[in-house]
């Protein structure tokens, strides 16, 4: 067609016009650029979507209050859709092209492990919102994480069981990374805590019905409690199936149960489920004197009024990651990657949604056992589990 060159010329000039304004010289007081990798869409979107919303909200609040050391905060957010490959390519982009000071996220352990070495080599501080132990063990100088450890969740579960006089349990877990990690922790720590695992089954993470696995558990009459380690939808399916089968022993879930939506999905079957989680979920029940109460109440109110959905502990991890970076920036003074890393490593007594953070050269998680609280479900709401 003879029109092709004309059309191409037209397109090129249009594109040039669109990009020309972006080529203006940078503003005098440069904003502080922080990169963020979240799985906003895709299979881990239950993590990434609230995380992205949280940091957007926080960035606006911080900038409205004057920014950090007088400079505006600019968050460059990339959606990895839960893919480790995309996480790597976006991380490279953030480090080399956008030249961010630090990266918060990613949302999942798989993605974090893929970019751990990249950030370490490029000396870019990484504050991950994922929970796997291997992110901080062995400690990499530039890599931190803010969620509690799986082992701490398991410790809470086992100690609560001992308080309840339970020693023989069944463990059911899903076939994905999260389930496998939890299963390992449960197995490793059982002996030391005096718990015997009588039945240990792995089910397909996309299973639509788990009555067969639970029938097997029911067949073992010595089982006093069931621990389920998975994410949705298996979390609610296990709860419902147990009640439908008449398997009336306590059900413990992982800290992945930390969203009121999951309680709603399991309906009446959710009553009495026990799980460890951040106090964010029961902030109304905390005494006013509690250190975290003010921050948690403010986060819950702001998030829920703006986004019209319940807060979750997952969004809370993003809150903590950004808080850690911001506190590090304030302490470091000049926006320099090395100084920021040193500042973060020496942060003490920083109040977040998951707990109070105290980092050190050997501890890049910063949280201890007090970060968790044992919660239960009563009348369709989360409450503290009274001993």
């Amino acid at each position: 067609m003879k029109q092709i060159p004309i059309i191409l010329a037209g397109l090129c000039s249009l594109l040039a016009l669109l990009f020309a304004p972006g080529c203006a010289p940078p503003a005098p007081s440069e904003p502080i650029k922080i990169g963020a990798l979240f799985s906003v869409t895709g299979p881990a979107s239950f993590l990434g979507a609230p995380e992205e919303k949280t940091v957007q909200m926080m960035t606006e609040q911080i900038n409205a209050a004057g920014g950090i050391n007088g400079r505006k905060l600019e968050l460059v957010i990339k959606d990895t859709a839960g893919s480790p490959e995309k996480a790597v390519s976006f991380a490279k982009q953030l480090i080399e092209e956008d030249k961010v000071l630090a990266i918060i996220g990613p949302s999942t352990s798989g993605e974090t492990m893929k970019i751990k070495d990249l950030c370490e080599e490029n000396q870019v501080p990484l504050v991950s919102c994922a929970a796997a132990e291997t992110i901080v063990v062995p400690v990499a100088k530039y890599v931190f994480k803010v969620p509690q450890k799986d082992s701490q969740a398991v410790t809470w579960i086992y100690r609560t069981m001992k308080d309840m006089g339970i020693s023989n349990i069944a463990v059911v877990s899903s076939s994905d990374g999260f389930g496998a990690a939890g299963k390992k922790q449960l197995e490793d720590m059982a002996g030391a805590e005096g718990i015997r695992i009588l039945a240990n089954e792995v089910y397909d993470k996309s299973a639509t019905d788990l009555t067969d696995v639970l029938t097997k558990v029911k067949g073992n009459s010595s089982v006093q409690a069931v621990v389920n380690w998975s994410i949705v939808p298996a979390q609610s399916i296990v709860a419902k199936n147990m009640k439908q089968l008449g398997l009336n022993v306590p059900l413990f879930q992982s800290h992945g149960f930390g969203n009121l939506k999951y309680v709603q999905q399991a309906g009446v079957a959710a009553e009495g489920i026990l799980f460890p989680a951040s106090r964010l979920l029961v902030v109304d029940q905390l005494p006013d004197s509690h250190r975290q109460k003010k921050l948690l109440a403010a986060y819950k109110k702001d998030y829920e009024s703006r986004y019209k959905e319940d807060v979750s502990t997952f969004g809370g991890h993003a809150y903590d990651a950004l808080t850690v970076v911001v506190e590090g920036l304030k302490k470091a003074g000049t926006p320099d990657r090395q100084k920021l890393r040193d500042a973060i490593e020496n942060l003490k007594d920083v109040v977040g949604t998951a707990g109070v953070f105290n980092f050190s050269a050997t501890d890049h998680t910063g949280l201890d056992l007090t970060a968790f609280e044992m919660l239960t479900v009563k009348d369709g709401k989360f409450t503290l589990n009274k001993k």
Binding site: S206, T215, V232, K240, G246
Partner: protein, 297 residues
């Protein structure tokens, strides 16, 4: 729990899972019978049915929501056939099957954008999340009876439609001998559209009735499609009753496997049995021997 009750419980569990697979397998079977296409997007019709019903259920009573979802997804099925498959009539069956795989991915993404990643479900049709029917020491959720009831009604309805109505007989004619059907004045493209629409409707109905048990979320289509497809193949493509039998069998095999082996092997057991059957009887357990007659009723 004594051994008899335990065995009965495993049986009921197998029927529970099997009913889910059966209700999905019927849709696979119908499109294959009528058009020769294995529609890998069938799982997405199931997902869409559940999603649309959950949304509608906010505004109208449950039965209306289910009926509405079935109608809307049937329309979607017809539209997809009209826009995609009608133009591609001259392409080989293999091309069309691959297109359905691509279609399933597209529908998943569209669903994610319309509804977001959250898991949702319809309320139980009778009772709630903890109700169960007990007998002889074993228990089953009342929703399973709804699924089995739906399967029964659908199979009966299809049987009547395909054998005793003009349209149904025309559809069977298209699948068994397209040229002769054309000569007899049957509009083949319209029959195809009808088959897609009907299959989508059945998928949507399946999605609604299993929603309280399996939860509805944008990713549920693919694993269900695989299991439903396996069930349809095991039973033998070409016969709705065979699809149901295949579904129930897959569920029972999985339950039996869990009772003896670690649960993680249940899928392996199901597919191993499927492969074994196919080696011995390639047309499936209840399919007719020759490849032409496979699509007969």
């Amino acid at each position: 729990m004594d051994n008899g009750s335990l065995a009965l419980q495993y049986l009921l569990s197998g029927i529970t899972k099997g009913s889910i697979y059966a209700v999905v397998a019927i849709g696979f079977n119908l499109i294959y019978s009528a058009t020769g296409v294995i529609n890998f997007a069938q799982g997405e019709f199931v997902m869409l049915g559940g999603m649309v019903a959950v949304t509608l259920a906010f505004y109208v009573p449950l039965p209306v929501a289910v009926a509405g979802a079935v109608a809307i997804v049937a329309l979607v099925g017809c539209l997809l056939e009209l826009t995609l498959f009608r133009r591609l009539r001259r392409h080989s069956i293999l091309h069309l099957v691959i297109i359905t795989i691509g279609l399933s991915i597209v529908i998943q993404e569209v669903a994610l954008h319309i509804w977001d990643e959250k898991v949702r479900s319809l309320p139980y049709f009778s009772g709630n999340e903890v109700s169960s029917i007990r007998f002889l020491g074993a228990a089953i959720s009342p929703q399973v009876l709804w699924v089995l009831g739906t399967v029964g009604v659908v199979v009966l309805g299809l049987h009547i439609f395909l054998r005793y109505t003009l349209r149904g007989r025309a559809m069977r004619a298209c699948s068994s001998n397209p040229e002769a059907a054309m000569l007899a004045g049957i509009n083949i493209p319209n029959m195809r559209t009808l088959a897609f629409g009907l299959s989508a409707a059945l998928g949507a109905l399946a999605g609604c009735v299993i929603s309280p048990m399996t939860m509805t979320h944008y990713e549920m289509g693919a694993p269900l499609a695989i299991k439903g497809f396996a069930a349809a193949i095991l039973g033998g493509l070409g016969n709705p009753m065979a699809a149901v039998a295949g579904g129930l069998l897959v569920g029972l095999i999985e339950a039996a496997s869990v009772s003896r082996l670690p649960a993680v092997y249940s899928d392996v057991a199901a597919f191993a049995i499927l492969l074994l059957v196919l080696f011995v009887r390639p047309q499936g357990l209840f399919g007719a021997p020759s490849s032409d007659a496979v699509r007969e009723h």
